[in-house]
């Protein structure tokens, strides 16, 4: 049987327009989780934003108030409003993509930038004000520890219970349970976009392995299978001011389908290793 493999992006080792096919066994080794952090670790906050001129200002102010001096990179995902202008007014860096490419692509642009500029810790958060900047320090402190490579901020571990629609909650519960089962550890909030990654995990997220549309439970499972240690910590999440989820309408059906397919092929790739 032909061994299936992952396409892996190696930003340091070779030209960026080429990708190399490597075996599953090599993945964890290539992105060795034992890579030491630079001292002191360079930390970057990445925020993908699409038409968020109303919310992004408050988010940036919140971060700058709680963590002054921490570099912030906003990836303006082809917004048609003044998102870029608002970000620049708040003295944050902005990368503007030429057109709307989707959440995953925008986020991965941030990871690519982090790899290119040797950042050793990356915190990703949403631009709609859902994530509390007060939790950034908790994520960074946790990810600095040797025991994990990726820290996910979970809304469900927090004492303040997060209110969401029944369908959304059911989806989170379903994929959270699948991820928990496959990872052998409790995953309560696989859809959380409030995460911190360090070292080799950032390189892995910048590679072709990263799901381009909705990085979700499938990516957590993939990370786990590739030897990265994932941990959840409680965070506070507010209700988004303007609420239109990425997973609405017909996209919900595609999301559920894509997630099942993605998890299934991840398992197939794993089984091919044996």
């Amino acid at each position: 049987m032909k061994t299936l493999s992952y396409q892996t992006f190696k930003p340091q080792a070779q030209p960026q327009n080429e990708s190399v096919v490597i075996q599953m066994d090599d993945v964890a080794e290539t992105f060795s989780s034992q890579e030491p952090l630079t001292n002191p670790p360079k930390t970057l906050i990445i925020i993908p934003a699409y038409n968020e001129e109303k919310n992004i200002g408050a988010v940036l102010e919140g971060i700058q108030k709680i963590s002054p001096g921490l570099p912030i990179l906003v990836i303006n995902d082809g917004s048609s409003d003044n998102t870029e202008k608002v970000v620049l007014e708040h003295n944050a860096e902005v990368i503007s993509l030429p057109y709307n490419s989707g959440y995953g692509i925008a986020l991965q642009t941030g990871f690519l930038y982090a790899v290119k500029n040797n950042f050793s810790i990356v915190v990703q958060m949403d631009s709609d004000g859902q994530h509390d900047p007060a939790n950034i320090k908790d994520l960074i402190e946790e990810v600095k520890k040797d025991s994990c490579d990726v820290v996910i901020g979970s809304r469900f571990l927090s004492k303040d219970s997060y209110k969401s629609s029944l369908a959304r909650h059911a989806g989170m519960l379903l994929f959270g349970s699948i991820a928990s089962l496959l990872c052998g550890q409790k995953v309560t909030d696989p859809t959380s976009g409030f995460q911190a990654l360090k070292g080799s995990a950032i390189q892995f997220a910048a590679s072709d392995n990263y799901p381009p549309d909705y990085p979700d439970a499938d990516f957590i499972i993939l990370m786990n299978r590739c030897g990265f240690r994932v941990k959840e910590i409680p965070v506070t999440m507010h209700a988004s001011p303007v609420k239109e989820s990425m997973h609405h309408g017909h996209k919900t059906i595609y999301y559920v389908f894509k997630m099942f397919l993605s998890i299934f092929v991840t398992l197939l790739r794993k089984s091919s290793k044996r």
């Binding site: 570099p71 990836i75 503007s96 030429p98 692509i105 642009t109």
Partner: protein, 132 residues
């Protein structure tokens, strides 16, 4: 096979093959993408012209009508071509995504450099990211 459908089928196949050649000649279609159409057109032409070939193939797939064999293989070839296109589109989409990301990053770096070039020498302020 009824002569009328045989003639129509032969004419369509000849037209398809000739038209694909013309498109390649005019550079409206690349050689890479013309291959699927040329193979399809040629094989369908062989099935349409040769009674022995269509009889043998019909027996092989268990078709009672020769026209069914033609439709069956016509659909099969189209499915293969569509699948090939889906694979190519997936690869192109991935390439466009990568290009988009790199264009965004390069544009950002270009703006930083432009800022530095146009900055008076006595102003040495640097961006947030560069200070770290």
């Amino acid at each position: 096979m009824p002569p009328r459908i045989q003639i129509i089928s032969i004419l369509i196949c000849i037209f398809l093959v000739a038209y694909v050649f013309e498109l390649v000649r005019r550079k409206h279609l690349s050689e890479e993408y013309s291959m699927g159409w040329l193979v399809t057109g040629t094989l369908m032409l062989i099935l349409s012209v040769s009674d022995d070939a269509i009889r043998w193939v019909s027996g092989l797939v268990g078709a009672t009508l020769f026209t069914s064999t033609l439709f069956f293989f016509g659909l099969l070839f189209l499915m293969i071509i569509c699948l090939h296109f889906s694979i190519r589109i997936s690869a192109l989409t991935q390439q466009v995504r990568t290009l988009t990301q790199h264009v965004g990053i390069l544009d950002h770096e270009k703006k930083i450099l432009e800022k530095k070039i146009h900055q008076p020498p006595w102003q040495t302020g640097t961006s947030n990211l560069e200070q770290i």
